[in-house]
Each structure stands twice: as C-alpha cells, then as structure tokens.
C-alpha cells in the first residue's frame, strides 16, 4: 500500500485509504456504471465512460430545426437526446451514431451502410416499433430522428423489483408483442441484432415499443478484422485479429452464439435467441449463463414455458424457432390454457375468493359517487368482502349484504337501474332461502359479486349513452380498460389506486364532504363521549338484537317469514351504521343508518313495547347525530339529522300510545276513573273455602248503579249454583250473589268481561274486569 500510488486507470494519485490502494474515483465509477461486464465468449462490453457523448451545446448548432432538450442516455451505439420539433410541436428522440474522425476523413463504407440501413428502417411502420422519422448527417454526426417514447425501458421495469424480474403473467403479456414486432421487421428483411431489455420500451399506455432496430448493423461492420472507426467497437473473439480488448457492441449476454462467432452469417434467428434471453430474464431475474436451469425450476411457471424458452435459446440457429411468430403462437397457447384453467378453477371454488373479491373491490370503487370518501369506503368494502367471502354459517344473511349495500350507492344516481338490479337479484334470491348446498351458495357468491353479476352487464349493455350519469361514463371507460387487462396486472392497478386515494386525501379534504369526522383529538370531551357511547351502545344493541332475531325471532318460532326478512334488513342497515361509526368515522352516516334501520324495524313490527331495547337505536342515532352536527356546525346538517329522528320519535310515541290507559290517574277525579274490585268474599285464589258459604260478595271502589251486574261464567262446570238473584248492600258498593257450594270443587266467575260490562258506576263507567276464583274444602 504505497502512499503515492498512481491509479493505473485514470492516472490520478491514490491517497492512503482502507481500499487497498484502489483509486476511489474509479471504484465509485465502476459502482455506478452497469457496464464493463464479462459476456459469453470472453467479450468485454465497451465502457461508455471512455467515449463521452457529445454535449447538448456541442450538437445543438448542427440541428437548427430541433430544440435539443437533454441527453437521455448513451450506449455502445451512440447517444440519444430528447428534442422537440417546434414546427410539429412534438418530442422526438435524436440518436447520434458517430462523430467525424479527428483527421477529418470520412468512413465512406460506414456512410453507405448507414444510408442503406436507415432507409430500410424508415420503412418499418409498426405500432410496436419505434418509428424512424428522418436520418442524415449533420456537422459530422450521423443521426437518426426517431419517435420519442415516454415511458420506461424493460430494464428499468425489471430493476424496480428487488428480484429484478416480472411476474410470469406480465412477462407473458409482453413477449407476444415483441414477437409481433420482430416478425413484422423480419418479414421486411430487417434484423434487430441487439434485442435486450434496454431496447424494449413500455410507454405509459403499456404498449411495447422496440427501439434501435438494425442500428447494430449500421455501426458494426460485418467482419471483425476491419479496424473500427472512432467511437465504434467491434465484436470479436479473444485473441482474434488486432482486438486485444475483446470488445463488442451492446450487451453480449443477449447475443446469439453465431453473432459472436460468425457475425457475417447473422440472420433473424439471432433476434429469436436474444428474445429467449430476455424472456428468461423476465421470468427468473437472471441471465441464462453457462449451465442454466429451466425457468420452471426457479419460479412457478408453466412447464411448457421451459420448452419455449429453451427452444428459443438453442445454440444452433437451425434448431431454434425459425420465426418470431412461432414463439408468439406457443406463448399464447400457454396463456390461453392458463386462463381457461384459472376460470375452471374459479368455478371449482379454488381461486374464487382472491380474484372475484379483488375484481369486486375494484369495480365497486368505480361505482362510487365522487363525493364518497374513496379510501375509507375501499377499506370498508374490503372488510365486507372478507366477511362475504368467508361463507359464514349464517351465510344466507350475509349474502344479502353486498347487494343491499351496492344498491345503496345506485340509489344516489339512477333509480331505474336500482330497480333492474333488484329485479335481477330477486331471481337469485330464490336461492337465498332454505336448504341449498354449499356449492350453490358459492355459485351464488359469484353471481352476486358486483363485478361479475348482471349488475355490471346491465350497465355496460345500456345503449343509450345519456341514460348513464356523467360520473359513470368516465368510470365505464376505466372499467372497460380494466377488463382488458390480464389478471396479473389487476392487483397492481388496485394497489396503485389505493396509493393514489391514500395520498390524494391525506388530511381528509375529500372525506369531510360527507360530514364525517377525522379521529380528531380536537373534539371536545362531551362530543367524544357522545361518539364513544354511541359506538359501544350501538354495538351491544346490535349484537343483542341479532341474537334475538336468530334465536327467538326466527320463522321457526312461529313468526312470519316476511317480517323476519324485513327485520333482518333493518338490522343489517343498523349494523352498517355501527360499522360506519366505528370503522369509518362517518358519524352522520351512522346516525342516518341507525335511525333508518330503526324506523324500518318499527314498520315491520307494528307495535313496540313501552320501553324496549329497540329504543336504544334512537339514542345511538341521536348521539351520532349530535357528534356529527357539532363537527359540521351547520343548521342544515342538524335539520337533516333531526328529520328522521323527529319522525322516529313521533312514530314511537304513537305506537306506544294506545298501549297505555287513556287517562293519567294523577290528574283524574274519582268520578272519571272506572270502579275497581277492592275486596271479595271469599278471596280470589283461596283454597280452603268453607263449602257451607251461602253468599259470594264483591266490594267495589265506589257506589255502583243499582240493579246492574255481570257475574259471568268462565265455563259451566266452574260456575257456582245460584240460589237467588244478586243484590246490592246499603251503600251500593258491595254486591251479593246467593249460592250453594259443594265441597272439594273449584269455582270461577268473571266480574265484568268482554261484552258483559254491567257492573257500572253511577256515571256508567264499567268496572275493571276481575276474575274471582277459589276452591272449597273437602
């Protein structure tokens, strides 16, 4: 470790470091540049750093018709600049292939080759091939003017993941497009010669574009013994000719063996080999170097893909695929088989949950009106679907949730569609009730799932454009685009969307539109208390009610099925209220749902006990509403909240009213209240009554009208044998019935009952009915 080493590479002095005498500058450069790698056949890639690209200012004077913006990149083939054509107002890519030699002479051979090839390239017109607009020579630079693709190279896409590979489905989506483009060019006699991830571009719409077609042929003379012109590197074998550095153009890993060994004989089959390398890399994240393993050994892919990849990677061109279109056909066969198998598996239930639920979640996000807080609802939906997909024992009930809930969103815009949706569901509801096998349930799960049911179909098949709401039309386009995506990309779309919504509404600007609250510490104590009380109370209540409804309230207990269904729906709405309160912080929605469900329940039940547990719902709704109203601080909001609450209270009062006595005792005068029995002889319920008793006596709370009485039989057997007519005693408060009793017998008689109400006071108020019942001694 010398203190004053010179770096053999850059010639600068190397300071004393712990780097073992290596020049830090060169070390860092080597770390940055992804070049200088060892390829097959012992070739070394040209180091771009040794051949700096012309600076923008350097080339700008030679291209007055262009505004050169920036250098996009630099490779063994030259440098690419982003430029603008002001006249056409479009971006173009300017590729500079070579510079004038230092001595000013020109490589005529190169010029001829360049013009010949460029002309052929300009004729290549295919959507998946980067178009060549123009070519020529300016200021000593040979240039190509090409289509500018705004997107990523496949290399960039690969390097985004840690494993540097794509999912098999993504790879399978890309490869056929590359094949198409290659086939198109090959048919026109053009060979790419440098297929590699860097040359495969993916634009923002996901289209595949192949760049640099045939450039390798322009810059590479076909025989390695020719001396390279300045700025060029030539393929060669180690120790061959005068090329001691063994340098080749591009990235040698992707080159077909014959490209290195016999460059003169290269034909389109070299591209197929390179495609095989790219394919292998996409699938496994590695290059097929040395004795490589087939892709299916490294990742979980169809074994038939191994055949395709290995066939493309055959060393002898004759044994390879002969046409790119054959690769495409084979890949597409595998894809089609995989898809049909996936669908088959879904019907069998194996993959239903993940893909159907994923699609449904995605679709339902598209159905949301704009004013709903997307992110929250998305989370809510996912929870809901998790429940839904889980096939609960009480599955019947939970199946009803998603349609109800999605219907809730429809009602905001198109009632007609809502109706048609329900008509469609009604048919399916024939499955809803008893005794269907789990298979049928699973089928129904698929049917009802929003993404695949007639619901979406109804939307998509509507012919009349103006029938669709405006917010829907843009979504429909998105949905159509989504449906065209392969399965594998859908997860990513959903994930991206989730990120978007998460970042779009960081502080709740969007979600406050519904009137909900953030989990704010700023809420005053009483509001927080109200919210928490509502949550806890609402949950307890909902659980109690569910237990009741599933147990005592079921049709098996003699209740009408229709009522049970309505009540389930009511509870479902109120449970949604709970969820909205707990999980979404939508206090307003929670209030409305709770009160709405409560009202619906009352309709179903017709009558309500004086203070039943169902009134807890009103309290829960009230507390939620208060929280919400406080947060919004708007009269209108309070009014919206107050209306259902008001009607709920009125309904409750009305329904409970007729169950109570018409007058309140405290305010009444004695003449206005009916008489009641205050004493009887014998007492009602007595068992050891003397059989020798000859009179039954009943004493009322006030004087009775003389001559009127209603001793009424309960039945013939229990009625005492009368020995005379009834009579009143002096103050007319006691009525006497003469009887003859027998030992050891039960007697019963009504005092006023049903239509017999002749025990009346002087104002004609009938006495409150009373049953006198007793047993004589033996």
């Amino acid at each position: 470790m010398a203190t004053e080493n010179k770096c053999p590479h850059c010639g600068k002095p190397v300071p004393t470091t712990a780097l073992g005498g290596i020049c830090p500058e060169c070390l860092l450069k080597a770390g940055l540049a992804d070049t200088g790698e060892i390829g097959p056949g012992g070739t070394v890639v040209a180091k771009p750093t040794s051949q700096p690209a012309p600076r923008v200012e350097e080339i700008a004077p030679h291209f007055p018709q262009l505004e050169i913006i920036e250098c996009l990149g630099r490779g063994g083939m030259g440098a690419v600049y982003k430029a603008r054509q002001p006249k056409l107002d479009r971006f173009v890519a300017l590729k500079i292939l070579s510079r004038k030699r230092d001595d000013g002479t020109r490589d005529t051979e190169f010029t001829q080759r360049f013009e010949r090839e460029a002309r052929a390239l300009a004729r290549l017109n295919h959507p998946d091939i980067v178009a060549v607009y123009d070519f020529g020579e300016a200021g000593g630079f040979h240039y190509l003017l090409m289509e500018y693709v705004d997107g990523l190279t496949l290399r960039q896409l690969l390097s985004r993941t840690t494993e540097r590979k794509l999912s098999p489905e993504e790879a399978l989506a890309i490869v056929p497009k590359i094949c198409e483009a290659l086939q198109f060019a090959h048919q026109r006699g053009i060979v790419h010669r440098d297929i590699k991830p860097e040359n495969i571009l993916l634009d923002k719409e996901g289209r595949v574009k192949i760049a640099d077609f045939g450039i390798a042929k322009i810059v590479t003379p076909l025989t390695p013994s020719l001396s390279p012109s300045d700025g060029e590197r030539v393929a060669g074998r180690p120790g061959e000719g005068n090329l001691t550095q063994n340098q080749v153009i591009g990235t040698p890993h992707y080159m077909a063996p014959e490209q290195v060994e016999k460059p003169a004989t290269v034909d389109h089959r070299a591209d197929i080999f390179s495609l095989g390398v790219v394919f292998y890399e996409m699938l496994t994240g590695e290059l097929p170097l040395g004795k490589f393993q087939p892709p299916s050994r490294k990742v979980q892919v169809d074994v038939r893909l191994d055949e395709i990849v290995l066939h493309a990677l055959e060393k002898e061109p004759e044994r390879r695929y002969q046409h790119a279109s054959e690769v495409k056909t084979d890949v597409e066969t595998v894809v089609a088989d995989a898809e049909s198998r996936t669908q088959h598996a879904e019907i069998g239930g194996a993959r239903t949950q993940s893909s159907a639920a994923r699609d449904a979640v995605w679709f339902s996000t598209q159905l949301l009106p704009d004013w709903l807080p997307g992110e929250r609802v998305l989370h809510f939906q996912q929870r809901l679907w998790a429940v839904f997909n889980h096939s609960w024992p009480t599955g019947r009930f939970f199946f009803s949730l998603p349609p109800l809930w999605s219907a809730g969103m429809y009602v905001t815009d198109r009632r007609v569609l809502l109706l048609s949706h329900f008509l469609g569901i009604a048919q399916r509801f024939s499955l809803w009730f008893p005794g269907k096998a789990p298979d049928a349930q699973r089928e129904m799960l698929k049917e009802v799932s929003v993404g695949r049911s007639g619901l979406l179909g109804e939307f998509l098949e509507l012919k009349s454009e103006d029938f669709k709401p405006r917010w829907w039309r843009s979504r429909e386009l998105r949905i159509r685009a989504y449906l065209r995506q392969p399965e594998c990309l859908r997860d990513k779309i959903l994930a991206a969307q989730r990120n978007e919504t998460a970042s779009a509404a960081p502080t709740g600007t969007a979600k406050t539109k519904l009137g909900d609250l953030p989990e704010a510490q700023s809420l005053p104590g009483w509001v927080q208390a109200a919210r928490w009380t509502a949550r806890v109370l609402g949950t307890l209540w909902a659980l109690m009610f569910l237990v009741f409804l599933i147990g005592e309230g079921s049709p098996a207990m003699g209740r009408q099925p229709a009522v049970v269904q309505i009540e389930f729906a009511a509870v479902a709405i109120m449970v949604l209220g709970c969820v909205a309160g707990w999980k979404l912080n939508l206090d307003g929605a929670a209030a409305l749902l709770t009160l709405g469900g409560w009202t619906l329940f009352h309709f179903a039940e017709h009558r309500v006990p004086a203070w039943s547990m169902f009134h807890v719902a009103a309290i829960v709704g009230l507390l939620y509403g208060l929280t919400w109203a406080w947060a919004r601080k708007r009269v209108a909001v309070i009014a919206i909240f107050a209306i259902p609450f008001f009607f709920g209270v009125v309904a409750a009062l009305n329904l409970t009213h007729h169950r109570r006595p018409p007058a309140r005792v405290a305010d009444a005068t004695i003449p206005q209240v009916p008489p009641v029995v205050i004493e009887t002889v014998p007492e009602s319920g007595a068992t050891e009554v003397d059989p020798m008793l000859t009179e039954l006596r009943v004493t009322f709370s006030k004087p009775m009208r003389d001559g009127n009485w209603s001793w009424v039989k309960l039945d013939d057997a229990s009625y005492p044998q009368m020995t005379g007519t009834p009579r009143y005693e002096g103050d007319r408060r006691t009525c006497v019935l003469p009887v003859k009793l027998q030992p050891g017998k039960s007697y019963a008689t009504w005092i006023n009952v049903d239509n017999f109400q002749d025990f009346q006071d002087e104002n004609g108020h009938p006495a409150v009915p009373y049953l006198l019942i007793f047993q004589t001694r033996k």
Binding site: T3, C7, P8, H9, P13, P15, T16, T17, A18, L19, G20, G21, I22, C23, P24, E25, C26, L27, L28, K29, A30, G31, L32, D34, G36, E37, I38, G42, V44, K47, P238, Q245, L289, G290
Partner: protein, 225 residues
Amino acid sequence: MLTAARSDTPRAHDALAKLCQTYWHPLYAYVRWRGYSPEDAQDLTQGFFAHLLEHKAVATVSPDKGRFRSFLLAGLNHFLSDEWDKACAQKRGRGKLISFDTQSAETWLSQQPSQTLTPEQAFELRWAVTLLEQVYGRLAEEHRQQDKAELFDTLRTTLAGPGNSAPYAELAARLGMNEGAVKVAVHRLRQRYRALLRETIAETVASEAEVEEELRHLLRIVTGG
C-alpha cells in the same frame, strides 16, 4: 433506510451509535479543515457524538428530510458554532465514546490538496471514501468468511475497471484457474460490489429512490466536479 432517524427507540440509538462509529472520519476531517488542532478536533468530534446520542437529536429528524450526510454536517456546524463552549467546559477529558484512529485520518488529510478544498468538500470527499471503505471492507469480509480471501486479494484490483488490473490470463495463472472462470469470478465480484455499494448508501438516505442520486452526487464529489 436510516433506522437511526426513525424513532426514539433503543434500536434507533444503537443504529445511530453504529453510524457515528462508521462516519467519524468525515466529521473529523471537516473539523480539522476548519482549522482546529488534531487534539481539539478529536475532542470536538467526540463531543458532537455525545451531544447527538444524549439529545437524541436524530430522533427529531424525519426520514423525508434528507440524507444522513447532510444531517450530520448541519448538526456538526450547529454544534461547532453554538455548543462548543458549553460542551467544551463539560465534556473535555471525558471518556471516549467511540474509538478512532487519528493517525490514519491525519495521513489522509495530509495527502489532500489543502488549498483547493473547502471544509465542506473535504467532509464530502472523506464521506465518499469512508463509504467506499465500508463497502470494500464488507466485500473483503464476505469473501474471507467464504474462504475466498485469496481470490479476493487477487481480483480486488479489477473492481475499478479492466484497465486497472493485470490481464486476466495473468490473474488466472496466479489463481490456478482458467481464464473463463476468472472472468466469471470478476463479474460476480463486481456485481456483489455494486449491490453492497447501493446497500450501504441506502443506510444513509431516506428512500430507495435516492440511492442512485446519492451515488451520482458522491461521484461528482470524488471527481471534483
């Protein structure tokens, strides 16, 4: 990413201590370049770390606020201007928090062209070198653990690029391998080096996306551009 800046946990504390241990050299170089004597510079650097660890200053830095490098430099500047007097009175002569080899630091400093570098440049330059030393050290350690120390010693010069080393044939002869195998080994060595380099940089920046940017920045520093 920058565990040290995440939170006020023992783990963050340990991570910070480790980073300090790693990156004392650039800080020392900076202090020296500001004109302090080696003894003062040593005390100051120790004092700065004590200050950092004690005040958990890193905990207040959120990961999105940038790189560890900039953070340390800013913190050190602040420390030098405000805290020095206080810290000096209290901490001087205290036990060393971290051990450092001032000898090697001084050697390095003496080799730098002092007239052209600002203290900040010296700091950044030394930062880059320290980072490379980390990477290099880890690479060597990895090879040593895999019993490939000899291979590493022979091939290490190829890390900086092909022009930097003896021809492959010579290397192959030295190692008793064939030339193809040497090429593959060199390729692997470089790949591992690049991965480690990015990994190490990732420890000092907030997000994966910044790694390449930081790498280019370091290169600019080292090339003096």
